[in-house]
Point group: C2
DNA sequence: ACCTGAACACCGTTCAAGT
DNA sequence: ACCTGAACACCGTTCAAGT
C-alpha cells in the first residue's frame, strides 16, 4: 500500500553520511515520522543495515543529523543580522521585522517538514550545546538585544519567543500531519468545517466560549494567526521589558 | 536493568478499561514514552494481549485515553470560572489570575507527566472535537473574555496562550526527561552548569548573544520563567486587543 | 576502510480457541 | 461476554564474514 514508486537510487556514488541523511530527510518528508526505518533506508540506498551503521551510530543520531541539516538550511536564509556593525542601513530592517523573519523561517521549515517540531524540542533539551539550540537562540536573541531590552532580561525574552514559535509551529505541523493522514481527498476547509460544527454543537452550559469561537476557528488563516501571535509577544516584550 | 520491582497486581478485580488506562499512566510516568508496551502492560495486569485488545482498540486509543484522564484531573482542580454568575466574590479572582492558574495547572501536569506534552499536541490536532481540546480552550477562553478582549479577537488571543503554554511546558518536560535519562546522580544544577559553560565557550564572532546569556541560563528558575512568559503574553493581549 | 546479510530481541496486533 | 496465548509481520541493532 505505502510502496512508493521510488528510483532505487542510481548507486555508484559511494555511501556517505550526507547521502544517508539526505535519504532520511526525504523519507521523513514523504512518509512521516513512522516512515523512517532502516528497512526503507537500505532499500532506498540499495545497501544493507550494516553499511548504514558504519556511517551513523544509531537512529537517534540519524534523526539529529536530519534535524541539523534542515534547520541550518532554514536559518541560513535569514540575514541573521550583520556580524560587524558595518553598513548603516538606516531603519531598513527593524528588530521587529528581524524577529518576524526568523519566526517565519522556522514556521515554514516546520510546515515543510512536520517531523521537525518533535525533533527540535527533543534536540533543544537533549543537546542544548549542539548546533541547533545556539543557532535558534542567537537568531532571535540578537534582535531582542537590538529591541532595547536590557541585558538582564535577554534570556527571558528570547526564551518566550522560542517557546511560542515552537509551540505554535509545532501545533500547526501536527494539524497538517493529521489532515494528511485522512487522505489527499479531504482538504483543510472540510476539516475546519467539521471541527467548527462539532464545537458549535457543544453543551452551551459547559462550553459557552468554545461554541462562540467556532466560526473564528473555521475562518482563520494559520500563517496570519501565527504572525499575530508573534506580534502579541513582541508587544508584551517591549511593553514590560524596557 | 529496567526490570522494576512491581507488584504483579493483586488481580481479582476484573480487567476494565479504567484499570488498563490507570496502568498505562503509571507505566508512562515511571518508564517514559518508550515504557508503555503491551508486553509490560500484560505483565503488570497479569493477563494476555488479547484481553487488553478487548477493552481498547489499539495503542493510539490507549494513549489518548491516558491523556484524557490526566488532563481532566489537572483542569478539574482549577475553579474554571463559575458556571452561573453567582457569588460576587468581588475582585477576588481577576481574569489574569485565572489565566495564570490554568497555565500553571497545565505546566504542572506536564511536569509530572512529561509524556503528556507530545500526546497533547497530537490530541489537539487529531481529535480537536474530543474532550481535551475544548476543555483547554474553554479554560483559557472564558478568562480571555473576562479580560475585555473584543469577541472577534477571542480565538486569536486564546490560541496564542495555548500555544505558548504548551510550547514552554513541553520544552520544560523534554528538559526534565533528558535530565532523567542521564541517571539519578546528575542534578539540574550540574546540567545547567555544563550547558552554560558550553555556551560561554562558543565563538564570540558567531554567537555573541548566546555567550552573553549563558549565566542567565544557569541561574534561571523554570517555573518563574514560565510565569514571566505568561505575563508577557497577557500584557501583549491587553495592550493590543482592547 | 567499507560493505553484506543473516540473526537476535523486541514490538503492535490478530485470532482460533477456551470459559 | 470476556479472556488466553501462540503466531505474524515488522522494528532497531549486532556481528561474523567478505572485499
Amino acid at each position: 500500500m505505502a510502496t512508493s514508486t521510488r528510483r532505487p537510487e542510481r548507486r555508484e556514488q559511494p555511501l556517505s553520511r550526507e547521502r544517508i541523511v539526505e535519504a532520511a530527510v526525504e523519507l521523513l518528508d514523504t512518509a512521516g515520522e513512522g516512515g523512517l526505518t532502516f528497512r526503507a533506508l537500505t532499500e532506498r540506498l540499495a545497501t544493507g543495515p550494516g553499511a548504514i551503521y558504519w556511517h551513523v551510530a544509531n537512529k537517534g543520531e540519524l534523526l539529529g543529523a536530519a534535524t541539523d541539516a534542515v534547520v541550518a538550511a532554514a536559518l541560513a536564509l535569514e540575514p541573521a543580522a550583520p556580524t560587524a556593525p558595518t553598513a548603516p542601513t538606516g531603519h531598513a530592517g527593524s528588530p521587529q521585522e528581524g524577529i518576524r523573519a526568523v519566526a517565519l523561517g522556522l514556521f515554514e521549515a516546520i510546515d515543510a517538514h512536520p517531523w521537525l517540531a518533535t525533533q527540535l524540542s527533543g534536540q533543544l533539551s537533549r543537546s542544548p550545546s549542539g548546533p541547533v539550540a545556539p543557532r535558534i537562540f542567537e537568531s532571535f536573541g540578537r534582535q531582542v538585544g537590538a529591541l532595547g531590552v536590557p541585558e538582564r532580561d535577554w534570556f527571558t525574552a528570547t526564551s518566550v519567543l522560542v517557546h511560542y514559535v515552537l509551540g505554535a509551529a509545532g501545533q500547526n505541523a501536527a494539524n497538517a500531519a493529521s489532515a494528511r493522514a485522512l487522505g489527499p481527498e479531504v482538504d483543510r476547509a472540510e476539516i475546519l468545517g467539521t471541527v467548527a460544527r462539532a464545537w458549535g454543537d457543544l453543551d452551551p452550559d459547559d462550553y459557552p466560549f468554545t461554541r462562540a469561537v467556532a466560526d473564528q476557528l473555521r475562518e482563520h488563516d494559520d500563517r496570519e494567526q501565527f504572525l499575530a501571535g508573534v506580534d502579541l509577544v513582541l508587544t508584551g516584550i517591549t511593553a514590560r521589558l524596557r
